[in-house]
């Protein structure tokens, strides 16, 4: 019974939570049949992370720990995953739909001569098929798709949609040997963002500001609330285009697609292109002074009011509740 190969992404010596979500989902899907889940970890100086993966359902962990994998490059990493797939012959290759996962998936799938089900929010196994539900048309529709005769099917799982589930188990760890490959696109340098900021695409809570915040300096109110909640900051395109904040923070059709547990939209009208990026959030909160703003149609909770007055009060209340424990 072919199992699932799960690609584990790490950054700065820490396994990314989104990868554990994918691994846990692989473990849940294979539990009824007992099919194997194999994790593959690629990097440099990452071997120490491998044993922990058994605790999320990997019965076997393949590790490619070499200097040439110190930085992610699609060519080298695709070769490593290909080597792992050749050993395991899985029914599916899972990875998280992070920036790296989405970049890697296309190259890997083409190299294996198979298709990819991208950015899925549900996935299950049938006898001869890997089936998934994925938002299409920017979330305006949900497609149920299968991988056709692709074998294995590459699947990227949307971050924050699948639960992490630690289990009492251990996996065996083995080194993975990867043939030499030409890496033509090489990373010359990485310019880090201001430290301490959470990435909006991966955060569990996102607080976003829009044109209703009135002026760039008022974004401090959004940041304060984000800090109090342990959240990442997001933005509408209107304020990105106005130069208040960098495009890296933009949520929506031409920005990041986010799926946090809690999304707060402050002074954002809820244009269809913004909704495209956040409508799969679990709980949506809108703060807008216009009761007719379309964002309220997507909201689970909302306040009709002036964000400039509501946000400081909300921040204070959140701090108070957190202090209470």
């Amino acid at each position: 019974m072919a199992g699932i190969l799960c690609v584990i992404e790490q950054r700065d010596g820490t396994i990314r939570r989104a990868s554990l979500q994918a691994l846990s989902q692989a473990a849940r899907l294979t539990a009824p049949t007992g099919a194997a889940v194999t994790a593959v970890l690629v990097g440099h100086g990452v071997s120490g992370l491998a044993p922990s993966l058994g605790g999320y359902g990997a019965s076997r962990v393949l590790v490619a720990d070499e200097l040439r994998f110190a930085r992610y490059t699609p060519e080298a990493y695709a070769a490593a995953i290909q080597a792992a797939a050749a050993l395991v012959v899985p029914q599916a290759v899972f990875m998280s739909a992070t920036t790296v996962g989405r970049d890697l998936a296309g190259r890997l799938a083409a190299r294996l001569g198979v298709d990819c089900l991208a950015d899925v929010v549900k996935v299950w196994l049938e006898e001869d098929a890997v089936v998934a539900v994925r938002p299409v048309y920017s979330g305006k529709a949900l497609a149920t798709v299968d991988g056709g005769s692709s074998s294995p099917v590459v699947v990227t799982l949307r971050p924050n949609v699948f639960a992490v589930e630690p289990i009492a188990a251990a996996g065996t760890v083995e080194p993975l040997s990867v043939p030499e490959v030409a890496v033509r696109a090489v990373v010359r340098e990485v310019v880090a963002k201001e430290s301490g900021e959470l990435d909006v695409a991966e955060a569990d809570i996102v607080v976003s500001g829009g044109r209703g915040m009135k002026a760039p300096e008022n974004l401090a109110l959004v940041r304060d609330l984000a800090h109090a909640m342990g959240a990442a900051v997001g933005a509408s395109r209107a304020i990105v285009d106005a130069g208040w904040i960098d495009h890296a923070y933009q949520v929506g059709q031409t920005g990041k697609v986010v799926s946090p547990t809690l999304y707060l939209a402050c002074g954002i009208s809820g244009a269809i292109q913004h909704l495209a990026g956040m409508s799969s959030s679990k709980i949506i909160v809108a703060i807008n002074k216009d009761p007719e703003a379309p964002i309220f149609k997507a909201a689970d909770y909302g306040i009709v009011g002036d964000a400039l007055q509501v946000l400081p009060a909300l921040t204070a209340e959140v701090k108070r509740l957190k202090a209470e424990g």
Partner: protein, 262 residues
Amino acid sequence: MRSCVLLACVPDTASVIKLGAAGNRIDEAGIKWVISPYDEFALEEAVRIKEAGSGHVTVISYGPDRVQATLRDGLARGADAAVQVTGGETTFGNALAIARVLAAAIRKLGGFDLVWAGVKGVGSDNSLVGAMVAELCDLPHVSGVLKAEFGGGKVVAHREVDGGMEVIEAPLPCVLTAQKGLNEPRYPSLKGIMASKKAAIQTMSVADLGLDEAALAGAGCRWRSLALPPAKGGGMILNGETDPAAAARELARLLREQAKVI
């Protein structure tokens, strides 16, 4: 620099999506078809590179005859030549098949230093075709490019990654996929629009490329069915106009006690 730009023809982002009769496609009645937004950035960059030096820009689109309007739009925005690969009804949404067809067209046309695509085709929302084409043409790729500089047969490209910005160097020919922020696309000029109406569009079929569309369709993903997301509504909306602080406190309470998210 000889570039080709892969243009996907997609529903305008403001379109209301309704389900079609087939059950696994949208209802196309009333849909306005446009160049996928990220492909506009790709095209603009290719045209700017040509204008800054010399070169030639070919736009390629694989799909039914509505892609001719997409290609003419590309010509109006500065492309020199346009190629339609006809077909694509059965391979819709199937990134592997689309990439195989486009890679074959790129090889057949030949001689490109740069292949541009969008980082994501809106609609399919796959973000796959660019990297797949690169692999199938045995080229390096950089996805999500925000800035690109050329010289000495190489490209130095900047891309945003989780947590920072990567600077990547790759030899040409190379596949680059465009991210928002790369440039500000121009509107087509009236003169460009007039000229594009008369321009010739080269067509080729999937069979001309030595491929079989039915076989391609079977090898990749299939859309079994399409559904609309469950309508939300009935959210709890508080009045914060008279007493914003009280509304804020109530919201925090609901988020903690009812939604259990903070």
